[in-house]
């Protein structure tokens, strides 16, 4: 089985974000990391590698400097990397990014693509489904459990009330949520080996993507305004003094907040 894991380089979630004049995240302003959600999609791929001898390629769309992110992903024990780097991609919206990823996937053989359900910077959750639509393959999103047997993939798709069991024939595209597993850390030998794993860097022209399908100028979505999220308000503390008053307070609070 051949698996491709698309990953993204995102600003460190712990750091303060800077929005540049073009209303996109200024990626040079702070440290960038492998998107934390990708640790879960990589872990799922590594488990399939261990249990089913899958061959796993990591795919990244991003600037040349993101190569360290590809190497970081490879250090978890993946087999090789494919990086799409082209100045024309800068500023692409989710759809533009999906177009590039779809073409990159078309350039390779694969049975399963495992995305993170969202990236920690934009959090649109659009790209996995958009890629599946462009390629005309099944899209199984928000997986909190994933199984592959023969050429069938089964996931538990998470939603507000629980999960659905969804099944599809390979090839298919899956996106996973953080509940799916507990990611491991890369081992030192994995870190050492990542240095010499094959990594192909290709341009839009190599993939047959026209520059007028991507980039800020061709984005379907436009950002007009932004503002920082308001700071979290302190929660309500109900203290139990043994008199039973706390239960009533708790009940009132739940009614007030429309939980009951």
């Amino acid at each position: 089985m051949k698996i491709i894991v698309p990953v993204k380089r995102t600003p460190d979630t712990a750091a303060e974000k800077v929005i540049g004049d073009d209303r996109t995240v200024d990626r040079d302003a702070g440290e960038s990391v492998l998107c934390p959600v990708n640790e879960f999609s990589i872990e799922e791929a590594v488990r399939l590698k261990e249990s089913q001898d899958a061959e796993v390629t990591v795919l990244l769309v991003g600037p040349e400097s993101a190569q360290s992110t590809v190497r970081k992903a490879l250090s978890y024990g993946l087999d090789g990397g494919l990086q799409v780097t082209d100045d024309a991609i800068a500023g692409s919206d989710a759809l533009g990014t999906a177009r590039v990823i779809a073409k990159a996937l078309e350039s390779r053989e694969w049975d399963l693509v495992i995305f993170g359900n969202q990236s920690t910077d934009a959090r649109t959750c659009l790209v996995p489904a958009a890629v599946a639509e462009l390629l005309g393959v099944p899209s199984l999103t928000y997986a909190r459990h994933l199984e592959v047997e023969g050429d069938t993939v089964t996931v538990h798709r998470e939603h507000e009330e629980g999960w659905d069991v969804v099944e599809a024939q390979l090839p298919a595209i899956v996106s996973v949520v953080e509940a799916i597993n507990e990611p491991r850390y890369p081992s030192f030998k994995g870190i050492m080996a990542a240095k010499s794993k094959p990594l192909d860097v290709v341009s839009l022209a190599d993939l047959g993507v026209s520059a007028d399908e991507v980039g800020a100028g061709n984005a379907a979505a436009t950002m007009y305004e932004f503002e920082p999220r308001p700071p979290k308000e302190a929660g309500t503390v109900v203290e139990d003094d043994g008199s039973g008053a706390a239960a009533a307070q708790l009940a009132d609070w739940m009614v007030d907040k429309k939980f009951a």
């Binding site: 970081k72 250090s75 491991r184 850390y185 890369p186 081992s187 030192f188 030998k189 994995g190 870190i191 050492m192 240095k195």
Partner: protein, 378 residues
């Protein structure tokens, strides 16, 4: 100054992440429960951290002593008993790896390097601590093998280790009568006494090991030759002293981190206590002392990486770093004031742990003896 390669930088980054997320939060529980953190040692093993400085042919990663010691420092900064455990494991593994016959090396070393086995080192006895060559545990020839009888003392990992490097007497010829044996935990005739009740490092058991006419195969005589045990023990300790020095720097750094954090947050007389010079200068001295100790152990490690004789400088690093840790952890408790005396904060534990480091792997008085003798030897 030696520059770290990219994978070595990634290694330290990975260790810091694991230490902060998985090791430090668990330390207090293992300490209170007096339980060896085998799960955390297994975690280190899975990340290839239990055999870093050993050669690829025995499963190691072949990193420099300097890099390996930086990992020990980071682990100790999160959890001293685990960091010291990694150092002791490596010391035992190094002794076996360095002095084994090729067949023994293939048989005994890979499991230690992989961390599927935990190593221990056993030289001291109740009557022979600093005067290690006076040990009395005997290994008597018996047919093709040996019979071991005697009691070893203060064995780190005693009872939880899987493989011990044990020094025993094969003749009455003083230091030249000592031989080294590779003994596994399932050794018939070997029992482990209940762990000592001690000042600190409760998660790292220290125990006596008792041999009662224990039959040991001849192929467990390290190097296949009698009389080489004392040299093996002393050479292993040289590296072990750098390990303890790195532990001490990690511990001092942990104490400094806590003290700085607290001094910025704790307010008295309407401002953070860090604003008072009496506290600020204390922090400054703690930081300077820790950094000096770090520079010295890393310099010693570089000399070892270059193949130089490190007897004197390893003793210097051990004494400077562990004395620095003792002073720095004491100062950290002082910065915390009354709270520092309680078990609500970790600094009282750091102080107790530092005292252990001044004594193990050769007391600091023995280190000074090594240094002074090397200065005045003709």
């Amino acid at each position: 100054m030696h520059r770290l390669s990219e994978p070595e930088l990634a290694l330290i980054e990975m260790v810091r992440e694991v230490a902060a997320e998985r090791i430090a939060p668990a330390a207090d529980r293992y300490e209170r429960e007096h339980t060896f953190p085998r799960e955390l040692f297994d975690l280190l093993a899975g990340l290839d951290l239990t055999g870093l400085p050993f050669a690829g042919e025995v499963g190691g990663s072949g990193v420099s002593q300097r890099t390996y010691l930086m990992v020990v420092e980071e682990v100790t900064r999160a959890f001293a008993a685990l960091g010291m455990g990694l150092s002791v494991h490596t010391l035992a593994t190094w002794g076996i790896d360095t002095y084994a016959t090729p067949a023994q090396r293939e048989r005994f070393v890979p499991d230690l390097v992989a961390g599927s086995m935990l190593g221990a080192y056993s030289l001291s006895e109740t009557g022979s601590g600093s005067d290690a060559a006076a040990l009395t545990t005997r290994a008597v020839r018996d047919g093709d093998g040996y019979r071991l009888t005697g009691t070893k003392a203060w064995v780190t990992h005693g009872g939880v280790a899987d493989r011990y490097l044990v020094m025993a007497r094969t003749s009455d010829d003083g230091a030249r009568g000592i031989s080294a044996f590779v003994i596994d935990a399932d050794q018939p005739g070997m029992t482990v006494a209940p762990p000592e009740s001690k000042i600190a490092m409760w998660a790292s058991p220290t125990a006596q090991i008792v041999f009662d006419d224990a039959p040991v195969d001849a192929d467990r005589l390290l190097g296949g030759e009698e009389g080489r045990g004392f040299g093996t023990a002393m050479a292993s300790l040289e590296g072990g002293r750098l390990g303890i020095a790195a532990c001490a720097v990690g511990l001092a750094q942990a104490a400094l981190d806590e003290a700085v954090r607290y001094a910025r947050q704790r307010e008295q007389f309407g401002r953070p206590i860090a604003d008072f010079q009496g506290v600020g200068f204390l922090l400054a001295d703690m930081a300077a002392r820790t950094e000096a100790a770090r520079a010295l152990y890393r310099s010693a490690a570089e000399q070892r990486d270059q193949g130089l004789d490190i007897g004197r400088v390893a003793a210097m690093a051990k004494v400077v770093a562990t004395d620095a840790a003792m002073q720095t952890t004491t100062d950290a408790v002082q910065v915390f004031g009354g709270v520092g005396l309680t078990t609500d904060v970790p600094v009282e534990r750091y102080l107790r742990e530092a005292k252990i480091l001044q004594i193990v792997e050769g007391t600091n008085q023995i280190q000074r003896l090594v240094i002074s003798r090397s200065l005045t030897a003709s």
